[in-house]
């Protein structure tokens, strides 16, 4: 019952917000349209646009491109992050030498790299993947680094006393600890992979959700912009839900899965 009440309230928020939008963009108040359709479109137009995209089937190609970019960025960024994270955590000298540079690159807003990547890798998928990788890499890298560094000293001593050699420590202690940290940041890193893909598309491409939004914007097609945002939001929610399922499976041993959603 409680859950039902919550759902009703959540739905009410959407209905009120969309209702207000609809009324204010179609009915003049004292002769003034508070939300002129030219700037704000109307909910009906936006929904009709989304339906049109799906009926005509043009949206699938863009969704697919964005998905491929995000997945590639996530996989490449994660693998690189895990490898470098492990390397730095096990070799403090290396970590110390590279520390200022890691901080410097991480401090840089990654968006400024997009034009350079477009220059280097062209307007296709590769430049978007590169942008996503720079975002995902640092999240995974920092988490794996933390995970390896913050293994409980008692657990480590126990593992040694039980007779583990360096390789077995890696497999039974460092690796699971690092993975747990990485998985707990899964929502963030997957989210950033999508951000990298969409921002890259927005700044220069021929396909993808970012491209779709950018194109609509270029011709003052506000309905198209909102429709693109709606599709993007649902797309990200679907991915986030999938990540939640994966996370619950992988972190069963955790008391409460840490929520690091941002």
């Amino acid at each position: 019952m409680r859950r039902f009440n919550l759902l009703v309230l959540q739905a009410a928020v959407a209905i009120v917000a969309v209702g207000l939008w609809h009324v204010l963009s179609t009915v003049p108040v004292f002769g003034v349209m508070l939300l002129p359709p030219f700037f704000f479109s109307t909910p009906v137009d936006v929904v009709l646009r989304v339906i049109k995209w799906f009926v005509e089937g043009t949206i699938w190609r863009h969704l697919w491109i964005t998905l491929v970019e995000a997945v590639l960025a996530f996989v490449i960024g994660s693998v690189a992050g895990v490898l470098v994270g492990f390397w730095f955590a096990r070799k403090p000298v290396v970590a110390a030498v590279f520390d200022p540079y890691v901080k410097m690159i991480n401090a840089l807003p990654r968006v400024v790299l997009a034009p350079i990547f477009a220059l280097w890798f062209g307007l296709g998928i590769a430049s978007k993947v590169a942008l996503g990788v720079t975002l995902v890499f640092f999240i995974v890298f920092f988490n794996v680094y933390q995970g390896v560094k913050e293994v409980s000293q008692t657990v480590l001593a126990n593992a040694r006393m039980l007779g583990m050699n360096e390789r077995q420590l890696m497999r039974h202690v460092y690796w699971p600890s690092a993975l747990s940290w990485m998985f707990s940041s899964l929502h963030t890193s997957v989210g950033f992979a999508v951000v990298g893909a969409v921002v890259g598309e927005y700044l220069g491409s021929a396909a993808g959700l970012g491209y779709l939004i950018q194109q609509a914007e270029g011709v003052f097609d506000v309905a198209g912009v909102f429709a693109g945002m709606l599709v993007l939001a649902v797309f990200v929610l679907a991915i986030d839900w999938l990540v939640g399922v994966v996370e619950n499976r992988l972190l069963v041993w955790r008391p409460v899965a840490a929520d690091t959603r941002t």
Partner: protein
């Protein structure tokens, strides 16, 4: 006797370098021998270096001066003969209870199925039948200690080192765990070095009780044989006259050190 002792610390001094460049002597000139099959407890005030002594006996680090011999051979690096039960949580949180118990065998090359069968048997011995599939966080503090005990004992170490293993548990659970430990120990008497701050627990469990002074530079200041028979029940043995007499005698000496220890650690 010292030749064949399971653990023999000979004039061990343990000092640590501090961050400010100075050094801190935790334990000074300690000599202690644990015979094979003997249960020895070390009791001392908070911060007296009891655990440090245990870590040296385990080979987790070496003494600054003096020697450690395990069955007559000088210890270099980790002791292969010793099992260590830690005070803090030491189970692998990402492994189930069963995997936690089996891991000691598996890393030594025992086939998976065999290791699991033996781990299953050990879970039964510590009273955790049916809990093998649970992760440590799904177990109570006492159950986790049982898993820890099985994890250490499945490797059949000749020496058992225990660092206030039942410290975080409530009084009833401690008693039950103490009896479980004595049960398991009486089956094949290993040499046990048991560190605790609880004098009652020490007397109830041990053959011999060693008292340490307050740190820094803690020393051994007294040693008593426990004249109580075995097998013992921890709750019952505490009612015996012999127990009380010994407790009074040792406490008389320990009290002063406890006060000193508190003064040094600021009551912490």
């Amino acid at each position: 006797m010292t030749q064949s002792a399971a653990v023999a610390l000979d004039h061990c001094t343990i000092a640590f370098r501090l961050a400010d460049g100075g050094s801190y002597t935790a334990v000074e000139g300690v000599s202690l021998a644990v015979a094979d099959g003997e249960f020895v407890s070390i009791v001392g005030p908070t911060g007296c270096g009891k655990s440090t002594l245990l870590n040296v006996a385990a080979g987790l680090f070496g003494p600054s001066a003096g020697t450690v011999r395990i069955f007559g051979t000088e210890l270099a690096g980790l002791s292969r003969e010793a099992g260590y039960l830690f005070q803090a949580e030491a189970l692998f949180p990402w492994k189930t209870a069963l995997d936690n118990v089996a891991i000691g065998l598996e890393i030594a090359g025992t086939p998976h199925a065999d290791a699991h069968a033996r781990a299953e048997a050990w879970l039964r011995r510590v009273g955790l039948t049916g809990f093998g599939g649970r992760y440590p966080h799904m177990l109570s503090g006492g159950q986790r200690k049982r898993v820890g005990l099985a994890q250490v004992l499945i490797r059949d170490p000749k020496i058992l080192l225990m660092d206030e293993p039942f410290g975080p548990l409530d009084a009833q659970t401690r008693q039950i765990m103490g009896n479980l430990l004595l049960d398991l120990w009486s089956a094949d008497r290993k040499a046990v070095l048991f560190v605790t701050h609880d004098l009652e627990e020490a007397i109830a469990l041990s053959d011999r009780v060693v008292i340490m002074s307050a740190g820094p530079a803690a020393r051994i200041i007294g040693e008593w044989r426990v004249p109580l028979g075995r097998p013992r029940d921890i709750a019952e043995v505490k009612l015996e006259a012999g127990f009380h007499a010994l407790h009074r005698e040792i406490w008389h000496m320990l009290k002063e050190e406890v006060v000193k220890g508190y003064a040094q650690t600021g009551g912490g």
